[in-house]
Protein backbone atom coordinates (compact mmCIF):
# COMPACT_ATOMS: atom_id res chain seq x y z
CA UNK A 1 0.00 0.00 0.00
CA UNK A 2 2.70 2.47 0.98
CA UNK A 3 4.83 1.55 -2.00
CA UNK A 4 1.97 2.37 -4.34
CA UNK A 5 1.88 5.91 -2.99
CA UNK A 6 5.60 6.46 -3.41
CA UNK A 7 7.16 7.90 -6.54
CA UNK A 8 7.65 5.23 -9.17
CA UNK A 9 11.13 3.72 -9.21
CA UNK A 10 13.86 4.69 -11.69
CA UNK A 11 12.95 3.24 -15.07
CA UNK A 12 16.49 1.95 -15.62
CA UNK A 13 17.18 0.67 -12.10
CA UNK A 14 17.82 -2.80 -13.50
CA UNK A 15 20.78 -1.31 -15.37
CA UNK A 16 22.36 0.50 -12.41
CA UNK A 17 25.76 -0.76 -11.35
CA UNK A 18 29.20 -1.19 -12.85
CA UNK A 19 30.00 -1.78 -16.51
CA UNK A 20 26.43 -1.95 -17.80
CA UNK A 21 27.41 -1.41 -21.42
CA UNK A 22 23.77 -1.91 -22.54
CA UNK A 23 23.11 1.73 -21.67
CA UNK A 24 25.27 2.99 -24.56
CA UNK A 25 25.63 -0.08 -26.79
CA UNK A 26 22.91 1.20 -29.16
CA UNK A 27 24.72 4.50 -29.84
CA UNK A 28 26.94 4.04 -32.92
CA UNK A 29 29.36 6.91 -32.24
CA UNK A 30 29.81 5.91 -28.59
CA UNK A 31 30.69 2.38 -29.66
CA UNK A 32 32.98 3.72 -32.40
CA UNK A 33 34.97 5.79 -29.87
CA UNK A 34 35.27 2.74 -27.60
CA UNK A 35 33.25 4.37 -24.81
CA UNK A 36 32.56 2.19 -21.80
CA UNK A 37 29.82 2.72 -19.23
CA UNK A 38 31.84 2.51 -16.03
CA UNK A 39 29.02 3.13 -13.59
CA UNK A 40 25.35 4.04 -13.61
CA UNK A 41 23.22 5.01 -10.61
CA UNK A 42 20.32 7.22 -9.55
CA UNK A 43 20.55 10.45 -11.62
CA UNK A 44 24.21 9.89 -12.46
CA UNK A 45 26.59 8.15 -14.82
CA UNK A 46 30.32 7.64 -15.40
CA UNK A 47 31.75 6.96 -18.87
CA UNK A 48 35.29 6.30 -20.12
CA UNK A 49 36.86 7.04 -23.52
CA UNK A 50 40.15 5.19 -24.04
CA UNK A 51 43.03 7.33 -25.24
CA UNK A 52 43.72 7.12 -28.97
CA UNK A 53 45.83 8.85 -31.62
CA UNK A 54 42.80 9.94 -33.67
CA UNK A 55 41.38 11.97 -30.75
CA UNK A 56 44.29 14.40 -30.65
CA UNK A 57 44.08 18.12 -31.39
CA UNK A 58 47.73 18.52 -32.23
CA UNK A 59 49.65 15.32 -32.81
CA UNK A 60 52.86 16.92 -31.58
CA UNK A 61 51.44 17.87 -28.16
CA UNK A 62 49.48 14.68 -27.49
CA UNK A 63 46.49 16.64 -26.15
CA UNK A 64 42.95 15.49 -26.94
CA UNK A 65 40.90 17.90 -29.10
CA UNK A 66 38.26 19.84 -27.14
CA UNK A 67 35.43 18.50 -29.28
CA UNK A 68 36.09 14.96 -28.04
CA UNK A 69 35.47 16.18 -24.50
CA UNK A 70 32.23 17.77 -25.75
CA UNK A 71 31.16 14.35 -27.05
CA UNK A 72 32.09 12.65 -23.78
CA UNK A 73 30.23 15.19 -21.63
CA UNK A 74 27.18 15.24 -23.93
CA UNK A 75 27.01 11.44 -23.83
CA UNK A 76 27.47 11.07 -20.09
CA UNK A 77 25.00 13.93 -19.50
CA UNK A 78 22.38 12.12 -21.57
CA UNK A 79 23.07 8.91 -19.66
CA UNK A 80 22.59 10.74 -16.34
CA UNK A 81 19.23 12.04 -17.56
CA UNK A 82 18.14 8.55 -18.64
CA UNK A 83 19.18 7.31 -15.18
CA UNK A 84 16.96 9.94 -13.54
CA UNK A 85 13.76 9.10 -15.47
CA UNK A 86 10.85 7.36 -13.74
CA UNK A 87 9.39 6.48 -17.11
CA UNK A 88 11.47 5.88 -20.24
CA UNK A 89 11.23 8.58 -22.87
CA UNK A 90 13.44 9.98 -25.61
CA UNK A 91 15.71 12.92 -24.79
CA UNK A 92 17.61 15.52 -26.83
CA UNK A 93 20.32 17.96 -25.80
CA UNK A 94 19.05 21.57 -25.85
CA UNK A 95 22.36 23.20 -25.08
CA UNK A 96 25.76 22.49 -23.65
CA UNK A 97 28.33 24.89 -22.26
CA UNK A 98 31.82 23.67 -21.57
CA UNK A 99 34.79 25.27 -19.81
CA UNK A 100 38.23 23.90 -20.69
CA UNK A 101 40.26 24.62 -17.57
CA UNK A 102 43.45 22.98 -18.75
CA UNK A 103 44.60 20.49 -21.40
CA UNK A 104 44.05 16.80 -20.73
CA UNK A 105 47.17 14.81 -19.86
CA UNK A 106 48.72 13.05 -22.87
CA UNK A 107 48.31 9.27 -22.93
CA UNK A 108 45.61 9.01 -20.27
CA UNK A 109 42.01 7.82 -20.68
CA UNK A 110 39.22 10.39 -20.42
CA UNK A 111 36.52 9.94 -17.80
CA UNK A 112 33.24 11.84 -17.74
CA UNK A 113 30.89 12.00 -14.77
CA UNK A 114 27.48 13.65 -14.94
CA UNK A 115 24.70 14.31 -12.50
CA UNK A 116 21.16 15.28 -13.41
CA UNK A 117 20.48 17.69 -10.55
CA UNK A 118 16.99 18.79 -11.55
CA UNK A 119 14.31 17.09 -13.58
CA UNK A 120 11.09 18.87 -14.54
CA UNK A 121 8.25 17.62 -16.74
CA UNK A 122 9.93 18.94 -19.91
CA UNK A 123 13.55 19.72 -19.12
CA UNK A 124 16.49 18.04 -17.36
CA UNK A 125 19.43 20.06 -15.95
CA UNK A 126 22.84 18.44 -15.83
CA UNK A 127 26.33 19.20 -14.57
CA UNK A 128 29.26 17.15 -15.78
CA UNK A 129 33.03 16.99 -15.45
CA UNK A 130 35.88 15.42 -17.39
CA UNK A 131 38.91 14.09 -15.53
CA UNK A 132 41.54 11.36 -15.42
CA UNK A 133 41.52 8.19 -13.30
CA UNK A 134 41.61 8.97 -9.58
CA UNK A 135 41.25 12.73 -10.15
CA UNK A 136 37.51 13.33 -9.82
CA UNK A 137 38.22 16.46 -7.75
CA UNK A 138 40.66 17.88 -10.28
CA UNK A 139 38.69 17.98 -13.57
CA UNK A 140 40.22 19.44 -16.73
CA UNK A 141 36.80 20.42 -18.11
CA UNK A 142 33.36 21.20 -16.69
CA UNK A 143 30.04 21.32 -18.52
CA UNK A 144 26.49 22.47 -17.83
CA UNK A 145 23.80 21.19 -20.13
CA UNK A 146 20.03 20.99 -20.52
CA UNK A 147 17.98 18.26 -22.16
CA UNK A 148 14.46 18.19 -23.51
CA UNK A 149 12.32 15.23 -22.50
CA UNK A 150 9.98 13.37 -24.88
CA UNK A 151 12.05 14.88 -27.65
CA UNK A 152 11.06 12.59 -30.51
CA UNK A 153 7.65 11.22 -31.43
CA UNK A 154 9.15 7.91 -32.55
CA UNK A 155 10.43 5.54 -29.87
CA UNK A 156 14.20 5.98 -29.69
CA UNK A 157 16.63 3.16 -30.10
CA UNK A 158 17.38 3.09 -26.41
CA UNK A 159 13.81 2.20 -25.46
CA UNK A 160 13.60 -0.64 -27.93
CA UNK A 161 17.09 -1.82 -27.11
CA UNK A 162 16.64 -1.65 -23.34
CA UNK A 163 13.16 -3.16 -23.32
CA UNK A 164 14.38 -6.12 -25.32
CA UNK A 165 17.14 -6.65 -22.76
CA UNK A 166 15.02 -6.29 -19.64
CA UNK A 167 14.70 -9.55 -17.73
Amino acid sequence: MRAAMNKPDFALRDFFGDRRQELIAHIPHAVELGMTMEQAGPCQALIRIPQGERLLGAASRGVVFGGVITTLLDQVGGAAVMCSLRELTSIATIDLRIDYMRPSTPGRDLLGHAQCYRLTRNVAFVKARAFHDGELDDPFAIALSTFMLAANPTPPGVMKALRSQQP
Binding site: H26, I27, P28, H29, A30, E32, E53, R54, L55, L56, G57, A58, A59, S60, V64, F65, G66, G67, V68, T70, T71, L72, L73, D74, Q75, G78, A92, T93, I94, D95, L96, R97, I98, D99, Y100, P103, N152, T154, P155, P156, G157, K160
Partner: protein
Protein backbone atom coordinates in the same frame (compact mmCIF):
# COMPACT_ATOMS: atom_id res chain seq x y z
CA UNK B 1 37.39 38.64 -47.39
CA UNK B 2 41.00 39.44 -46.59
CA UNK B 3 42.59 36.40 -45.02
CA UNK B 4 45.89 35.78 -43.36
CA UNK B 5 46.14 32.24 -44.65
CA UNK B 6 45.37 30.59 -47.98
CA UNK B 7 43.06 27.63 -48.55
CA UNK B 8 46.06 25.34 -48.95
CA UNK B 9 47.52 26.62 -45.63
CA UNK B 10 44.24 25.64 -43.97
CA UNK B 11 44.16 22.23 -45.69
CA UNK B 12 47.63 21.58 -44.33
CA UNK B 13 46.50 22.58 -40.83
CA UNK B 14 43.57 20.13 -41.01
CA UNK B 15 46.06 17.33 -41.66
CA UNK B 16 47.92 18.29 -38.48
CA UNK B 17 44.82 17.79 -36.31
CA UNK B 18 44.27 14.02 -36.09
CA UNK B 19 40.73 14.44 -34.75
CA UNK B 20 39.76 16.73 -37.69
CA UNK B 21 41.14 14.11 -40.09
CA UNK B 22 39.21 11.38 -38.26
CA UNK B 23 35.93 13.35 -38.55
CA UNK B 24 36.60 13.94 -42.26
CA UNK B 25 36.55 17.74 -41.91
CA UNK B 26 36.92 19.78 -45.11
CA UNK B 27 37.70 23.47 -45.12
CA UNK B 28 37.05 25.81 -48.05
CA UNK B 29 37.80 29.51 -48.21
CA UNK B 30 35.73 32.07 -50.15
CA UNK B 31 34.86 35.79 -49.97
CA UNK B 32 32.68 35.15 -46.90
CA UNK B 33 35.44 33.34 -45.04
CA UNK B 34 35.78 29.70 -44.06
CA UNK B 35 33.14 27.22 -45.18
CA UNK B 36 33.56 24.00 -43.21
CA UNK B 37 32.03 20.71 -44.30
CA UNK B 38 31.43 17.49 -42.44
CA UNK B 39 30.43 14.57 -44.69
CA UNK B 40 27.91 12.19 -43.12
CA UNK B 41 29.15 8.83 -41.84
CA UNK B 42 27.22 6.10 -40.05
CA UNK B 43 29.81 5.84 -37.29
CA UNK B 44 29.16 9.50 -36.31
CA UNK B 45 25.51 8.78 -35.47
CA UNK B 46 24.20 9.30 -31.94
CA UNK B 47 20.57 8.28 -32.47
CA UNK B 48 20.31 5.34 -34.85
CA UNK B 49 16.50 5.44 -34.82
CA UNK B 50 16.13 8.89 -36.46
CA UNK B 51 19.04 8.71 -37.57
CA UNK B 52 20.85 11.80 -36.26
CA UNK B 53 24.48 12.80 -35.82
CA UNK B 54 25.83 12.59 -32.27
CA UNK B 55 25.45 15.94 -30.51
CA UNK B 56 29.09 15.82 -29.52
CA UNK B 57 30.13 15.48 -33.16
CA UNK B 58 28.01 18.52 -34.06
CA UNK B 59 29.58 20.45 -31.18
CA UNK B 60 33.08 19.42 -32.22
CA UNK B 61 32.34 20.46 -35.82
CA UNK B 62 31.24 23.93 -34.62
CA UNK B 63 34.39 24.23 -32.53
CA UNK B 64 36.62 23.23 -35.44
CA UNK B 65 34.86 25.75 -37.72
CA UNK B 66 35.42 28.52 -35.16
CA UNK B 67 39.07 27.54 -34.84
CA UNK B 68 39.65 27.52 -38.61
CA UNK B 69 37.93 30.89 -39.07
CA UNK B 70 40.33 32.26 -36.45
CA UNK B 71 43.30 30.63 -38.16
CA UNK B 72 42.17 32.13 -41.48
CA UNK B 73 41.80 35.61 -39.94
CA UNK B 74 45.08 35.89 -38.09
CA UNK B 75 48.61 35.04 -39.06
CA UNK B 76 50.06 33.75 -35.84
CA UNK B 77 52.25 30.72 -35.34
CA UNK B 78 50.35 29.78 -32.18
CA UNK B 79 47.15 27.76 -32.38
CA UNK B 80 44.32 29.45 -30.41
CA UNK B 81 43.23 27.44 -27.37
CA UNK B 82 39.54 27.14 -26.48
CA UNK B 83 38.64 28.61 -23.07
CA UNK B 84 34.98 27.72 -23.32
CA UNK B 85 32.42 26.76 -25.90
CA UNK B 86 28.61 26.91 -25.98
CA UNK B 87 26.45 24.84 -28.29
CA UNK B 88 22.72 25.26 -28.98
CA UNK B 89 21.19 22.18 -30.58
CA UNK B 90 18.39 23.56 -32.75
CA UNK B 91 17.33 20.59 -34.90
CA UNK B 92 18.48 17.01 -35.15
CA UNK B 93 21.19 16.70 -37.80
CA UNK B 94 20.11 14.02 -40.27
CA UNK B 95 22.14 11.72 -42.52
CA UNK B 96 23.41 14.54 -44.75
CA UNK B 97 26.55 16.64 -45.05
CA UNK B 98 26.80 19.43 -42.44
CA UNK B 99 28.09 22.89 -43.37
CA UNK B 100 29.19 25.68 -41.05
CA UNK B 101 30.45 29.22 -41.06
CA UNK B 102 31.94 31.25 -38.23
CA UNK B 103 32.35 34.96 -37.53
CA UNK B 104 35.02 36.49 -35.34
CA UNK B 105 32.91 38.81 -33.17
CA UNK B 106 35.83 40.30 -31.30
CA UNK B 107 39.50 39.85 -31.84
CA UNK B 108 41.28 41.18 -28.79
CA UNK B 109 44.93 41.07 -27.85
CA UNK B 110 44.61 37.92 -25.80
CA UNK B 111 41.09 36.63 -26.37
CA UNK B 112 38.93 36.15 -29.44
CA UNK B 113 35.17 35.61 -29.37
CA UNK B 114 33.75 33.59 -32.28
CA UNK B 115 30.16 32.76 -33.33
CA UNK B 116 29.29 29.72 -35.46
CA UNK B 117 26.24 28.36 -37.27
CA UNK B 118 25.83 24.91 -38.84
CA UNK B 119 23.14 23.75 -41.28
CA UNK B 120 22.27 21.00 -43.74
CA UNK B 121 20.93 21.91 -47.15
CA UNK B 122 18.96 25.01 -46.11
CA UNK B 123 21.07 27.67 -44.45
CA UNK B 124 17.88 29.31 -43.10
CA UNK B 125 17.28 26.18 -41.00
CA UNK B 126 20.35 25.83 -38.79
CA UNK B 127 20.89 22.54 -36.97
CA UNK B 128 23.14 24.12 -34.35
CA UNK B 129 24.69 27.41 -33.34
CA UNK B 130 27.44 28.19 -30.92
CA UNK B 131 29.98 30.64 -29.61
CA UNK B 132 33.29 30.32 -27.89
CA UNK B 133 36.18 32.24 -26.41
CA UNK B 134 39.70 31.37 -27.47
CA UNK B 135 43.00 32.28 -25.86
CA UNK B 136 45.33 33.65 -28.53
Amino acid sequence: MKTARSASDLDLMVTRIPYAVYLGLRVDLDEEGVLARLPFRNDLVGNAGLPALHGGVVGAFLELTALFQLLASVRDARIPKPINFNVNFLRSAGPLECLARARVVKHGKRIANVEVVAWQGDRAKPVASGFGNFLL
